[in-house]
């Protein structure tokens, strides 16, 4: 009892010291001057919270909970996947406009997180500038359609390509140096992209952004009320009444298709020599070198494939929003995608899918929590690293089996 009590004291005292300045005082600006307000109650709450959390931890240490590991249920897994797929196919017909919108957003983030999964989850390269490639993809689509009049389906592959080329050019010098620097350099690169997008007014419209994105067409058929090309519109061709939701639904299916392609490609890549080399590199770079694996090339491939996927998703994002501006591509965005990959379990496509869904829906489901969203992300990243460093789903599937 006495010993327990002593282990209590330091964290509680520490919390008191930590909360004293920033929780205890608050500066409020009036029109004329600044007032210093005191909030001793907050200090009390924080200290009490830590006290309670510590008690719980001590009790848990004495009576530990049965340990649990979330592993994918082996049986009926394919049935579950098929059910999910059918559900997603049927979704647009069962739900409202806002739900379709939200589902599209969730799919976009899943695609983004799966792209980062290749760079970070498989190859172990911490890319804190991931959002830069997403931005490059979105701006490529905006610029190509705005200045050169390219159609949506021309813009999409080009966006992916441009993002991948940027990754190659940036990665070539950077990936040769030691691992940790990559994180910061990538972060710096993302900052450069954002600064350029903000300041190059004549090209990107600066902070006001660009609008008038290309609209997706269904094999050349447009979704508008009237057609601008010679072809009939979508609804005329199929003899159905006009509905503005058609375009939305079509976009949803497109992104669903993109997600499935990314899923299949990442799954297959993992089982190819390249994918195995990525994972081997994550485990031990020196051993890779002794086996004659060309590390810079392997790193560059992981980096630019991830970036290419981000570019593709960027094109879809631009079309979905109908508008791009530098504000959509801040570090918070990268942090959120990194959090999805980390929380879901690096390398696990389904874990990441679940984490992405949860993180996108969280602020929608709990409006009151929206302000605390980033705070909770940060906390979750620390806690997951400490208690479950391999993420939600940490069971690694071998890429090849003996039998």
């Amino acid at each position: 009892m006495n010993k327990n009590f002593l282990t209590f004291l330091p964290p509680v005292f520490l919390t008191l010291l930590l909360s004293l300045p920033l929780l205890g005082f608050f500066a409020q600006e009036n029109s004329k001057d600044i007032l210093l307000l005191q909030r001793w109650d907050w200090v009390l709450y924080a200290t009490a919270a830590v006290f309670l959390a510590n008690s719980v931890l001590i009790v848990l240490k004495k009576y530990p909970l049965p340990s649990f590991a979330i592993s994918p249920p082996a049986k009926n897994l394919n049935a579950l996947k098929a059910l999910l797929f059918l559900g997603l196919l049927a979704l647009p017909f069962l739900s409202s406009r806002s739900t379709i919108d939200l589902a599209t957003l969730v799919l976009l983030y899943i695609c983004l997180a799966w792209g980062l999964n290749i760079t970070m989850g498989l190859a172990g390269l911490l890319d804190l500038g991931y959002v830069a490639f997403y931005a490059i993809g979105a701006y490529t689509t905006a610029i190509l359609s705005h200045y050169y009049g390219l159609s949506f389906w021309q813009c999409v592959p080009l966006s992916g390509l441009v993002a991948a080329i940027f990754a190659l050019v940036i990665g070539m010098p950077i990936l040769r140096v030691q691992g940790d620097y990559l994180a910061i350099v990538a972060l710096g690169f993302a900052e450069i992209v954002r600064i350029v997008a903000t300041n190059w007014q004549s090209l990107t419209g600066g902070p006001n952004g660009m609008s008038g994105m290309p609209r997706p067409t269904f094999f050349g058929l447009e979704f508008g009320r009237t057609s601008s090309s010679g072809l009939p519109t979508f609804q005329d061709f199929f003899h159905i009444p006009f509905n503005s939701e058609h375009r939305l639904i079509f976009l949803f299916y497109c992104i669903l298709g993109l997600a499935i392609i990314i899923y299949v490609v990442s799954k297959r890549l993992r089982c190819l020599p390249l994918g195995r080399a990525w994972e081997a590199m994550r485990e031990d770079e020196i051993a890779c070198r002794a086996l004659g694996i060309n590390l810079p090339r392997i790193k560059l491939s992981a980096y630019s494939i991830g970036a290419g996927i981000a570019g593709l998703v960027g094109a879809f994002f631009a079309t979905k929003q109908g508008f791009v501006s530098p504000e959509s591509f801040t570090f918070n965005e990268t942090a959120m995608i990194v959090a999805m990959v980390v929380l879901g379990g690096m390398g696990s496509l389904w874990g990441i899918c679940i984490a992405a869904t949860f993180l996108v829906l969280l602020p929608e489901l709990a409006r009151g929590l929206a302000d605390y969203r980033m705070l909770l992300f940060g906390l979750a990243m620390i806690l997951v690293m400490r208690f479950k460093p391999n993420g939600l789903i940490s069971v690694r599937q071998p890429t090849v089996k003996m039998s």
Binding site: P21, L22, I174, M385
Partner: protein, 300 residues
Amino acid sequence: MDYFFQQLINGITLGAIYGLIALGYTMVYGIVGMINFAHGEIYMIAAFIGFLAFLLLASLGVTSVIVTLILVLVISMVFTSVYGFAVERVAYRPLRNAPKLAPLISAIGMSIFLQNYVQLTQGARVKSLPPVFTQNFHLTDSLTISTVQLLILGSTALLLLGFSYLINKTPLGRAQRACEQDRKMAALVGVDVDKTISLTFVLGAALAAVAGVMVILYYGVLDFYMGFLAGMKAFVAAVLGGIGSLSGAMLGGLLIGLIESFWAAYMGGDYKNVAVFAVLMLVLVVRPNGLLGRKQVEKV
């Protein structure tokens, strides 16, 4: 010509601030081999604590500028050090033997957490501190140096002297350098590694605290987001000078400060950060170990 020298003064002042933050990065990298991603946030927190301390002292009726300044510095250094200590205890120490990506991700989590913690507790709006020192000294007709600039340069020089004494001459410094060389061996010969690492974080935070207080005196504004860019640039400074090298961090800080202010003066402010990061990439390609860094021998 005066314009040039004015930029030189401004650049060195800015560089001194970056250098103080960069020392924290470089020390931590030297001893635990990881980027303390939350260090920029520590600096931001220091600025906030300093700001609140100014207001508190003013409301208590302390009028002497010197007394205020010293008290603010002490308060900010003490409480920021507690933050530095806590960050290491909570986010890094449990992960010391974890896979290599884990502490870095934990650090990013900590950085996001602290940023939003300050935003939620202190508000998202930019705060401004009424000017404390207003006097400028005219060196020539159009070349001036402000009291705050003198203060920054003076205190940085003083801190560096004390700091190099601490690292080179005291038992703590010896323990710190020993841990940097070989943590296991240091532990075997009786160095308390945990304590030394904690102290390294505390020292780094205290230096960042001085930078934080100076920067609000200098610019008069602060917000919860200020640590992100400043931290990033200070890290660039540390890499530029050669990570792990203390004098390199200072040199890198000065270079970054100079690049930034000269670029802003002659090329316009829009792309000054682009210049800073471009320099980083260039240095990493040409001299991966930085300007004063030791060449690392890979242990196989």
